[in-house]
Assembly symmetry: C2
Homo-oligomer: 432 residues x 2
């Protein structure tokens, strides 16, 4: 098992998460179960604090809500002084219900609805990452009506491609996000923001990609952004107040992933930005980043119960578990790879080559194709690692499968933070 960490440990023949035996969690909360190591999440948030907030003045890492949004995670983020980015009024509403400071919320999205803009502004969210011209008009109109000021960060697509999968590139030219950098579109956008009476032009945002393993992608993008900051100064006479370098901080899904260290990325970013701004005697900007997956991805372990098996001679051995694409769409959507272990046989040799199928009635519902496991038998508990980001948040009720509970573990204890759905929940919205 490559993903043994200080929070997920094998002791004897069993997997423990924050010193809680995995099989005990299933006994207590049922199966399948999303387990999130609160120990691991705290460690990650603490890294954001010590390696960015405490180390460099005027910085703010924003937890990317879309990776895992619920009240419990927002409460944890607050403890470490971390901000959040939200991509919808729904995410904002959940954060506010958790007591999150609206001033530390950055509102993202390629199509913010008028109702969402109004909701955000009425609830004190003032930082907008502005994505397109139509949004500038909408925000100005609604902010004017409400007589509030918005801080607008202009999202620029730097034309840098990074990240493994075609779906998770973002900085490229052909994208639905942001203002293009290749034909001065972004300068027209900045001018329009500067001219909007109820939007304070606050700086620029870029997002280089997801799960980035090459520091060079950040170097290229940040150098380009320093050039853009110069350009903005030269054209408009404005030193930008904030520079948001976006997300892309990777995690390890399998042994073949080699994510960058948060510390290294931040050091690289800060170094380029500070040197660039110092060179022209421009006041150093506030710097923001947006890690999501990095904070919660490796904290998550999904526990499944092994059910049926199927040995197709000369072809493949299948085992099926009690979840599937409903709780993990990434396997089928992105062909994502995962590591796993039989939690109650974790000390044994992984010498059985199997394919792990979900229970959804869909051929594509395969969670892991070809993995070596400890002799999997019905009733065994399969622990699938690195399922903390984009799993619960993307979950569905396909096949009318109730969504699993989410449990936090910490220092030998566990608590349910999201309860399991019941059959009654499946008809809660049906109108008779």
């Amino acid at each position: 098992m490559v993903l043994q960490t200080e929070f997920a440990q094998i002791k004897g023949n069993d997997l423990y998460i924050d010193d809680v035996k995995a099989t005990d969690l299933v006994k207590q909360y049922g199966s399948p179960l999303y387990v999130m190591s609160e120990g691991h999440i705290r460690k990650q948030f603490n890294t954001l604090k010590t390696k960015m907030i405490d180390k460099y003045e005027n910085t703010l890492p924003l937890f990317a809500s879309k990776s895992f949004s619920c009240k419990a995670i927002y409460k944890l983020a607050m403890e470490y002084g971390v901000g959040i980015d939200c991509v919808s009024a729904g995410e904002i509403s959940v954060a506010l219900k958790a007591g999150f400071d609206p001033k530390k919320i950055y509102f993202h999205g390629n199509n913010k609805l008028p109702s969402e803009i109004q909701y955000a502004l009425e609830n004190g969210v003032e930082n907008f990452v502005i994505d397109n011209f139509y949004e500038i008009e909408l925000v100005e109109e609604i902010a004017s009506k409400l007589n509030v000021m918005v801080n607008g960060l202009v999202r620029i697509t730097p034309g840098v491609y990074a990240g493994g999968h075609d779906y998770i590139r973002v900085g490229a030219k052909d994208t639905k996000f942001g203002f293009s950098s290749h034909d001065n579109t972004y300068l027209k956008a900045i001018k329009k923001v500067i001219d909007a009476p109820h939007i304070n032009f606050d700086g620029i945002h870029c997002h280089v990609g997801s799960q980035i393993e090459e520091i060079q992608a950040y170097v290229l993008a940040m150098n380009k952004f320093v050039d853009i900051a110069y350009e903005i100064y030269d054209i408009f006479g404005i030193v930008i107040n904030k520079l948001n370098a976006g997300g892309g901080f990777g995690i390890q899904y399998t042994a073949s992933d080699h994510p960058l260290e948060f510390d290294d990325v931040v050091s690289t970013i800060m170094d380029i930005i500070y040197k660039g701004f110092d060179r022209r005697n421009m006041k150093r900007p506030m710097v923001l980043v947006e890690p999501g997956r990095y904070c919660v991805g490796n904290a998550g372990i999904t526990l499944y119960t092994v059910g049926s098996y199927k040995y197709i001679r000369d072809i493949r051995d299948y085992i099926s578990v009690d979840g599937g694409m409903t709780d993990n769409i990434r396997s089928s959507l992105y062909n994502a790879k995962y590591d796993a272990v039989i939690a109650n046989k974790a000390g044994e040799k992984a010498d059985h080559l199997v394919t792990v199928a979900g229970k959804n009635c869909e051929s594509g519902d395969i969670l892991i194709k070809d993995i070596m496991l400890q002799d999997p038998q019905p009733g065994d508990i399969l622990a699938m690692f690195s399922t903390g980001a984009y799993h619960y948040s993307m979950s569905s009720n396909y096949n009318q499968l109730p969504k699993p509970a989410v449990v936090f573990t910490y220092q030998g204890h566990s608590k349910e933070v999201i309860r399991r759905q019941t059959f009654d929940d499946l008809v809660a919205y049906d109108v008779d």
Copy 2:
């Protein structure tokens, strides 16, 4: 627009669904909105009735729940004497809450959980499509404990590949579904079912594929199944009671789809089965089929409001709508193609080439790549066709977007059958 039907009509400059103006539906129920033409669904269910139930004795088409599961659709299916297949206890629970006769429910799935088997049996569901050896043991054990009999249809993978996308083949050898036909595994399974005291060996099931456009796939599979029926008779002395030919009945998503007629498929199936059974003087079996997409796919039209737009010079013109992969995962999951129209400009010329992006914060969230539309402007209503199957049922709350309402239209009227989620619903399962 290729998908104009008797239920979706353009009158003047507007799209009407069952004589209800699309834009009026958005005004009344909000946006985005899943609209289902009850007229179209009734037409399809009526085809199942007249072209199968009424035409051939001892037949039963089963609506495949997974395509669209809610109380309203089960109530409609009942009116036409149609049965259903369910792939989980959750689907069964919803059907039973709608008042569905458990005797007309067929329970599918590659990993039926012990709790699901118990739930089904306790609630009078007696028809199981048995998928694997472990299931035979489980069903026998639980049925024995409850002292009930199960009718077991043995699911055989015929080794026939059909359907366009790699994800939607099913009959192939390398599949998580059913018993393999290439090494007599299925004969061992049938023997085991025959020997199980609480399972009545009731017949066989195959599923050739999805969205099948070649009648030859059914011909090959049915001929193979007749051979298997002979083999079962020769080996075990049993004439099978039921033959379930599965699903695969296609619909038209775009002009390039050429689905088979239900009538033609059923005639072909019945002809091969009856001739084959008559030839050996075997009593003709009850014949079942499992259309899902066919019943509801083309009934569904998703109405979106157009929001932001982005014209990237020399690259691509994007428009964004207020939904996305949360309400339609098929575009990103299966690269599925759709046809669409601007509902309030439906009479105008479609002369604008655009790409329709969703509002989810995900690069892959593109609903339609390159489509000709009537000059789309913010506030216009985009009607996307053929979204009745595998849309609501696969929907998620990613990005904390509330799920849209589902509205049925019929003969000039509309009614909400599933209400829209609210922000409060997004934290309904959070534990404080």
